[in-house]
Each structure stands twice: as structure tokens, then as C-alpha cells.
Amino acid sequence: MEDPYKALGVARDASQDDIRRAYRDLAKQHHPDLNPGNVKAEERFKTVSAANELLSDPEKRGKFDRGEIDAAGQERAPQSSYRDYAEGDAGRRYGRSGPKSGGWSAEDLGDMFGSIFNTDHRAKAPVRGRDEHYSLTTDFLDAVNGATKRLTLPDGRTLDVKIPSGTADGQVLRLRGQGGGGGNGSPDGDALIEIHVIAHRYFSRDGQDIRLDLPVTLSEAVLGGPIEVPTPGGPVRMRIPPHSDGGTELRLRGRGVPAHGDRAAGNLYATLRVALGKPDAALEEFLRNWRQERPADPRRAMEAGR
């Protein structure tokens, strides 16, 4: 039998208050009804209670101190604890779902098994593979006309990506089944490929139309004539009308972005830019002696300094 002073963790000359306080602290920790199923706590509580029984009574404590009784003699006959009932069927009386309810409700089952079944479900349900994201950079003309590009993936696989004609910068192509592998026989994910289009030196894109600054010579502008115009689909011959000033916009119908999907082919708009090049002596001579019938000021519409 453990020494009751040691059991309570107090000195032999502890006051009655010290003993009471020590017992309360230990009872809070080890009370068996607060520690159901914990045999150690139960044993500890028995020892502590017995020690308290002995030492909290000054008369008994004196007898023990003088050696007239030993620690064991004071152990109280065990009383049946609340937990002896609470855990059994009788405990339903104070259960949350009321005294009458026996058996498990659906919620009870869900509470205890929900997580198990859910985990199970998750593991067994087909898991579609992840979509993987890639990006692919392409020339302007390949994007307008369409092309097939080979993309090397980080895992070493290669994908032949068919870029449809009319693909715009930032457009995302979806290649079905080329993404991450699916689990449990479910479909693979897709590869999502964002297309980046490199700007062209001459062409620019405006929806389905293509725009182009087209240099012409002075005589082509003034006299007109046949010229060759580059288009995404290859050079096209056309005739410039006489007196086509710089800034004149010529339209080549159907020579923009080719028809794709449900979109009709766009137009090509060529804006004329008069390019003099290096003037020769004859032109200089002509201009020196040139007397314009109606002198023109192309800057008249501009306000000075603005």
C-alpha cells in the first residue's frame, strides 16, 4: 500500500488545506467517470481517494502518523461508478438521443462509417486523368493558314499538334486523352495547349481580316499600274488605280484569314505608303521646274504644334 502522503504528493507536515487541495487536483485528473476505460486512472484514483480518506480526517491522520493504523486499513469498499452504467444499455437514459432509442439511427451509422465509406467511394470511383497545360509558339502565317507542329512534353513524349487555320493568339487547343492518365480504367485527361503567335513583320491581324502597309513608288501612286501584293496565301497581282495617294486603302476580297469553321474568309486591306527611295537627278530637275497648278499643303488640317 502506497504511503498516503506520497499518493497525494504532499509533505508529512502539510496542512489540512494542502491535503484537500492536492486531493481535488488529483481527483479532477483521475476520477474514473471522467476517464472511462482507463484502468490506470482508476487505480490511481483509488489510491488517491484512500489517501484522502485517511489524511483528511485529523483523527485518523494522527493515528496513522503515530503508527496506530496502516494505510491499507482505510480503503473504502468500492462503490459502483457512474461509468459502470453509462456505457451499458442503461446509459441510454442519459444519452443524447433519449432514453427510448436503442439501435443505430442512420445518422449514427453515418457518423461512424461515413468517413470510411466516403474514402472507399473516392478510391473506387473512376478518376478522370488530369488536364495538362502546355504552351506552343507558332509563326504568324502558320497560325493563319494552319499547320502541324510537334510539341515535346516535359516527360519526353511528343505530341503532333494540328493548329487549325485561323488560330488566334492566346487560343487554347484541347487534345482529348493526351493529358494525365486516368485511374481505374477511367478516361485520360486532355492536353490543353495555349497557342502563342509571333507577330509578323508586315501583316497584322484584325479578326478575320489582315492588314498590311504596302510601299509603292511615286509613279505607281500617280500613274497606277499592276503590282504584286503579298498575302498570307502567297503573292497576288492587282492593279493600283491612278492617283492613289499614300494612305489609300485597297481591299483584296477573300485574301485575309482563310475560311475556317463557320467563319468566312476575311479580306486583306493594304494601305499604300509612297516610298521615294533615292531620288535621281531627273526627278530633282523635274521638281525644281515644277509649277503646281494648285499648290497643296498636306499639313493644313494640322494645327501648329499639336
Binding site: Y23, H31, P36, G37, Y85, E87, R96, W104
Partner: protein, 111 residues
Amino acid sequence: MISIEVLVTQISGLQRQDLERWISNQWVRPDGRAGAYAFREIDVARVRLIRELRDEMQVNEEALPIVLSLLDQLYDQRRRMRELGDALRRAAPDEVRRTLARHLADQTGIE
């Protein structure tokens, strides 16, 4: 089944008026009605527990309902666990029980 008069003499330090307050607070729920209560063993044990909580562990009556509610939930869960254990013992083949035990022993607290 014992009456309130007998109960009060059985539990040292228990005042009848305290017990009647606990009953009206629904902390103890004996059979019968006021003036003719009948306490089962579990009711007696619960009264003893409440008295110990209050007098020896100094859980005051303001805090007692919280403590009792948590205890009731704890015992509900333990009863469920016991019932689950019983059901497994009756219904689950040895192999399943061994597998379950192995899985539970492997639990590390993560997933």
C-alpha cells in the same frame, strides 16, 4: 429502484433540496414524478457523480451542465463503440476482424 428519501440517506453530503434542483434541471432523470420519484442504479450513480463533481472537484453548478453534456456525449460514443465491437464480434468473419485490427494498429494519426 429507491425513493428520494432513501437516496438522500445513502449518499453522504447530499441535501435533498440540491437533488430536487438537479432533477428540475434535468441533470438527473428518475422515473415517477415529483413526490414519487423512483431512482434506478444508474440514477443513484449519477447523483453521486454530480455530488463529487461539485463538492470534491469544485465544478460549480454554472459549469456542471457543460461537464454533464460532455460526459453524456463521451458515454454515448463509448456505448456506440461497444455496440460496434459487439456487432463485429458477432457478424464479421475472423479474417475481417484481424484485418481491421491490423489497420487500426497501423494508424499513425495521419489519414
